[in-house]
């Protein structure tokens, strides 16, 4: 069952330029298990903005029935979201989609977690769960610049963490792939979320045998009913075979969908 709940804002904090960390409380949290799934948020009760906004679950705290999201306030919807204050409620649909398979990594394995910008958040819960499972995690986080970077310390507490920034103001100057190369990072399994060019580069680099990537696409329903978010499969790149990012994804094994 997919549920909808008015969840209560516990805290909302600006943690970098235009980046907010939002923690909500409610029953829905009990259904949040797999990392990498997302929630679909209605940011106000008005008809404008009309559509929900998909945001990844960044960290789950079942005991306290709360979870955290990290998002960039950019357009109309996320800017309104950023105005929500503790005590207010938000209409949350979810959790939706299929996340990162934690069990694909065996205890003792090394997992490489590569995130770009607002693709970083879901990797945090993933890393927590991998570490719990006894998987060693290496994190490579890409940002535009130091002032839009976030959670670097939090990731460091879970495993080795490398940062790349486009302007070089933090870590390696360049992209995540530059950092991976520069430090010669190797692993058994890759998990990644971020912009398409980054995912393409990682797919081409063939760093690991197994890998999973999380995609973004503009959505209508978010539950698989409207065909807004489909992509071709790699095995039938121009045909009628497809996957829906919202309900088949957002996480896919590398090689399943055409990037």
């Amino acid at each position: 069952m997919i549920n909808k709940e008015w969840m209560t804002v516990l805290s909302q904090e600006k943690i970098a330029v235009n980046i907010y960390e939002l923690t909500l409380k409610g029953e829905l949290v009990q259904q949040m298990n797999e990392p990498g799934r997302f929630v679909h948020l209605k940011v106000n009760e008005q008809m404008m903005p009309l559509l929900r906004r998909p945001i990844s679950v960044a960290s789950i705290d079942k005991e306290n029935s709360q979870f955290t999201m990290i998002y960039r306030a950019e357009g109309e919807g996320t800017k309104l979201l950023a105005q929500k204050k503790a005590g207010e409620t938000i209409d949350v649909l979810g959790p939706l989609g299929n996340g990162f398979p934690v069990e694909a990594a065996q205890p003792g394995d090394t997992a490489l977690l590569v995130g770009g910008g607002i693709g970083v958040p879901p990797l945090y819960e993933l890393s927590k769960q991998l570490n719990e499972r006894g998987v060693r995690t290496i994190h490579v986080l890409g940002f535009q610049s130091a002032d839009t970077s976030f959670y670097v310390e939090a990731f460091s507490a879970l495993g080795d963490t490398y940062v790349a920034t486009v302007d070089g103001s933090l870590g390696v100057k360049g992209f995540v792939t530059d950092a991976i190369q520069q430090y010669g990072l190797e692993a058994d399994i890759l998990y990644s979320c971020g912009p398409l060019p980054m995912l393409r580069a990682l797919e081409e680099a063939q760093l690991t045998k197994k890998g999973f990537i999380s995609l973004e696409e503009r959505m209508g329903c978010g539950i698989g009913a409207c065909f807004a978010c489909v992509c071709h499969t790699k095995s039938d790149p121009t045909g009628t075979d497809y996957r829906k990012v919202c309900s088949d994804g957002p996480v896919f094994p590398i090689g399943e969908v055409a990037l």
Binding site: M47, M48, L50, L51, R218, G222, A228, C229, V230, S247
Partner: protein, 313 residues
């Protein structure tokens, strides 16, 4: 009889409120949210003879009070719909309205012939108005004679009543309605989307990969109301009204304009539980306002027309 039970050609509906085509797939996803048996019907996603992938993404964009879509009629094709989707839907006590699309008359005829034979399909909805495909679709929806002819050909093969879905992108909606009535249509569904576009100011490119798309949602409601108001006075066909419905009052407004049932499209995205909520809400509204049956409201805006001052020139 309940306040909501509704009889339309081919359709005995528990209530006259149903999801609009393309906004509800074939029901599978929404069945994870609530019991589909509460619905009056389901207008399933457009079916074409062959499977279609549709347009490249992005396929949706938000607009003030509305959204654009250019799905491009993605669907698994007639065979799979008949063999997998409709049988799955037969577990529910639901008369299905099958949305039929194509690029040429023969396509429509072929899909109509086959799909109308499926037991739980109680009516067809001829999609002569999809703006998101290059051939067919919209041409059938804007030229009266073409629409009449298509309707006639489909009527000849269909085992169930045929509703024609009108496009709002026309100079004269009444003319289109009369043409399909003439072609033998049993009912009308209206409106489909208005053709619109958004350009991304940052990139300078249209947001939709298909460039243009269909505008739906509250923004188009006044256009839908106007067209139903006009058409319901000029034809005898029952109208299933749609276009921007998201509240109980919206449904009442569509009835007052002249609708005999309604469908909810875009609002399912903002609130996926909206259909059951509206069904309950409308029943309560009728009770609160002491209206014996929802059909009492149909066309009231013009039927009870008190002679008010009315000078335009």
């Amino acid at each position: 009889m309940s306040r909501l039970e509704t009889q339309l050609p081919g359709l005995t509906l528990k209530n006259p409120i149903m999801p609009a085509s393309g906004c509800f797939g074939f029901g599978r996803e929404f069945s994870q949210l609530y019991d589909l048996n509460v619905l009056g019907s389901i207008m399933i996603k457009a079916t074409t003879e062959e499977a279609r992938f549709g347009n490249p993404t992005p396929r949706v964009a938000e607009t003030p009070g509305g959204m654009l879509n250019a799905i491009g009629l993605q669907n698994p094709g007639l065979e799979k719909v008949v063999e997998q989707e409709l049988p799955w839907l037969s577990q529910f006590d639901l008369p299905i309205i099958a949305n039929v699309a194509g690029s040429q008359v023969e396509d429509y005829v072929e899909v109509a012939r086959t799909i109308s034979q499926v037991e739980n399909v109680h009516a067809l909805e001829l999609n002569i108005s999809c703006p998101n495909v290059k051939t067919g679709g919209i041409a059938f929806g804007t030229v009266p004679e073409t629409a009449r002819h298509l309707t006639k050909m489909v009527k000849e093969v269909s085992e169930v009543p045929v509703y024609v879905k009108l496009s709002p992108n026309v100079s004269n909606i009444v003319e289109m309605a009369k043409a399909v009535e003439d072609g033998g249509a049993d009912g009308l569904t209206m409106i489909n989307t208005l053709v619109g576009m958004r350009i991304d100011v940052k990139t300078g490119n249209p947001i939709l990969a298909n460039r243009t798309g269909g505008l739906s949602g509250p923004a188009i409601k006044p256009v839908a109301i106007r067209m139903i108001y006009e058409v319901s006075q000029q034809t005898d066909l029952p109208i299933i009204g749609m276009g921007g419905i998201s509240t109980v009052e919206d449904i009442i407004e569509f009835y007052l304009a002249g609708a005999s049932a309604v469908a909810v499209g875009t609002a399912n995205f903002a609130n996926p539980f909206i259909c059951p909520e509206l069904i309950e809400g409308v029943e309560q509204y009728l009770i609160d306002n002491k209206i014996d049956h929802i059909s009492d409201l149909s066309g009231r805006s013009w039927k009870k027309d008190v002679k008010r001052a009315y000078h335009c020139s």
